[in-house]
């Protein structure tokens, strides 16, 4: 391949890796929104929490794979507890109170993280098997980013299988579309809420943990991931998984090529794109309802 083509392909893979990470975060966010009507402001904060857990487990055990396994699960448990003890008790007060409580949770997670780990960037070292570069047809590419893509595809594939091929998935999809009706049919919807919230946080946790070595772990991580995931959910349409997927990949590429060619405009471009979509379709590209 010619050097220019190599550059383009490398940026495309860059964008794909970031897009997949974004989708991991945004998928949970959009499902929680579709199901419970809550915009979980603290969603990316849990991803950041997972990254810190990953760092900590790695520090204790020295095993990256173990850390990658444990951290998202612990974050998910935190999410379940949050849903059970905080969100559920304000549910009857309406969406505003739920939204506000996630703002409070975001602040508390941010400060807790600063309290325990400080404000400096922490470096997560990856195992030797993931280090190094892959050489293929003139293209040199870091293996870790390819691993991020592969892991995301694996996790999302399993999630898609559960969501579209099992009875549990059917209940979850039905609850996303009409929670009251599903409740009337005798399904324990609060349990489904809790489960989906936990799984959503777990997905974000996976994203946070694998993003750790790429971005380093620092308190601003939540804002970085959260804002982009938020744009994905808003543009893709509230509660639409397909929309989130398409837009996450698109934004990933937009980011990658934008930074390459118009570094100053790239972040502005993203928000301008969102403003444009919202002006034309207030419910997002694939959204159906408010």
């Amino acid at each position: 391949m010619s050097p220019t083509a190599v550059l383009y392909v490398a940026q495309a893979i860059h964008g794909l890796a970031y897009g997949m990470l974004l989708f991991l975060v945004a998928s949970g966010l959009t499902m929680i929104f579709g199901m419970m009507g809550i915009l979980n402001i603290a969603h990316a904060s849990f991803a950041m929490l997972s990254a810190y857990f990953c760092y900590q487990v790695l520090l204790y055990t020295g095993n990256f794979w173990l850390a990658l396994l444990i951290a998202p699960v612990v974050a998910g448990i935190c999410g379940v507890l949050t849903e059970r003890f905080l969100l559920r008790s304000v549910h009857k007060q309406g969406h505003l109170a739920e939204l506000l409580i996630t703002v409070g949770i975001m602040a508390v997670i941010l400060e807790t993280v600063k309290l325990f780990w400080g404000t400096e960037s922490l470096v997560v070292t990856i195992p030797p098997s993931l280090k190094g570069l892959l050489h293929y047809a003139g293209l040199t590419y870091p293996i870790y980013r390819l691993f991020v893509i592969a892991l995301s595809v694996l996790v999302l594939g399993i999630m898609a299988l559960i969501l579209f091929k099992t009875r549990l998935g059917k209940i979850v999809r039905a609850t996303v579309s009409d929670a009251d009706m599903v409740s009337a049919l005798g399904v324990n919807t609060p349990l489904v809420f809790m489960l989906v919230f936990g799984i959503g946080i777990w997905l974000a946790g996976v994203a946070g943990a694998v993003a750790g070595p790429l971005l380093t772990v620092f308190p601003g991580m939540a804002d970085l991931l959260g804002m982009d995931a938020f744009v994905v959910v808003v543009v893709g349409g509230f509660g639409s998984l397909l929309g989130a997927f398409v837009v996450a990949l698109f934004l990933g590429e937009l980011n990658a090529y934008g930074i390459q060619f118009i570094p100053r405009l790239a972040p502005v471009l993203m928000f301008a794109f969102m403003a444009l979509v919202l002006a034309l379709k207030p419910m997002g590209l694939f959204g159906e309802r408010e």
């Binding site: 304000v90 506000l100 703002v103 409070g104 602040a107 508390v108 941010l110 938020f230 808003v234 919202l278």
Partner: protein, 325 residues
């Protein structure tokens, strides 16, 4: 009912306290008190949307920050720019931004409104960060001096004197608060509340929904801009992280909610509580954000009407009166 004597006595005490404040306390507390006053105004403008219109503005810092930047830019680039127009230009900028955004914002409500305002807030934040020729980027704009208050032929008051500035800024805040309080009592203010309570019915009664919402948005944006302008004059530095970032958007939400969104004075009260807490907490711990966050969660969980609501419930229980509000 309205002319209860104790109310007048209360206002008199507050007035005297505010007037002699800079002579009682050091300049540090005077400036802290001013910051509290500015954020009270800012929180009240947010409450115009949250309490009176029933929508949550998640990017309110864009109005505050635009006002602050407008004032700072005017003072930096125009020689001898007078004081009052500097404040007004901030309000104008905030109102103009609200006017531009209003066609989009009046179409949505609920969570969608919160997201849309958050999106535009972030857009403005990123724009200010990237266009550093105009805004100074992360460093912001500083080094301008506060011009004297000039009434031609009558008086010229030096505003670099901090006590003089204290009186001026406080007067602006109080006048703005009074205008806003009056605004909520006008028929237009009542229609805004009617739209919140039952939009369909208000529509059928012949009132214009979108226009009413838009006017309320512009009023809120303009006064938030004035709050930002005074903040710019007080701090003598305007930077993206200080006036446009997401925590500047969250602060008035916390203040309004802790104070109580059901009443006009709730946000002022909440702002006072937060400033008092911060000043106390800073002596004991460095984790002000943690303290604030926990208190905020507790208020949302257990006192959804805020502290003002809590007080009025307690009062009515104590004196066996019929329940207030």
């Amino acid at each position: 009912m309205r002319n209860k004597p104790y109310k007048w006595i209360l206002w008199g005490v507050v007035f005297i306290f505010v007037v002699i404040f800079p002579h009682l306390f050091s300049i540090y507390f005077t400036n802290l008190f001013l910051a509290f006053a500015i954020f009270s105004l800012y929180a009240v403008t947010l409450n115009l949307l949250l309490g009176y219109m029933g929508v949550l503005s998640f990017g309110h810092a864009m109005f505050f920050g635009t006002g602050a930047y407008a004032t700072a830019i005017a003072l930096t680039h125009i020689q001898g720019f007078p004081l009052l127009p500097a404040v007004l230009v901030g309000g104008l900028a905030g109102g103009l931004l609200a006017l531009i955004l209003s066609p989009l914002l009046v179409r949505v409500s609920g969570t969608a409104f919160a997201m849309l305002t958050l999106a535009f807030g972030q857009l403005i934040f990123v724009l200010a960060l990237k266009y550093r020729e105009v805004t100074g980027g992360e460093d912001g704009i500083g080094g301008y001096s506060v011009p004297p208050l000039n009434i031609p032929g009558v008086v010229s008051i030096d505003m670099t004197n901090q006590i003089n500035f204290y009186y001026f800024a406080l007067a602006v805040v109080v006048v703005c608060l009074f205008i806003l309080w009056f605004y909520t009592k006008t028929p237009l203010g009542s229609i805004v509340t009617a739209v919140r309570d039952n939009a369909l019915r208000t529509d059928y009664l012949g009132f214009k929904l979108s226009q009413t919402k838009a006017v309320n948005l512009i009023v809120s944006g303009a006064f938030a801009g004035i709050a930002g302008a005074i903040n710019a004059l007080l701090q003598k530095l305007v930077s993206t992280v200080g006036v446009l970032d997401i925590s500047t958007s969250f602060a008035p939400i916390m203040m309004a909610y802790i104070g109580g969104i059901g009443s006009f004075f709730g946000p002022i009260f909440g702002s006072g509580v937060i400033y008092l807490l911060e000043d106390l907490a800073i002596r004991l711990t460095e984790r002000i954000g943690l303290v604030n966050g926990v208190i905020f969660i507790l208020v949302v969980l257990f006192a959804p009407t805020g502290l003002v609501g809590l007080f009025s419930t307690a009062k009515s229980k104590l004196f066996h009166k019929e329940k207030a509000s």
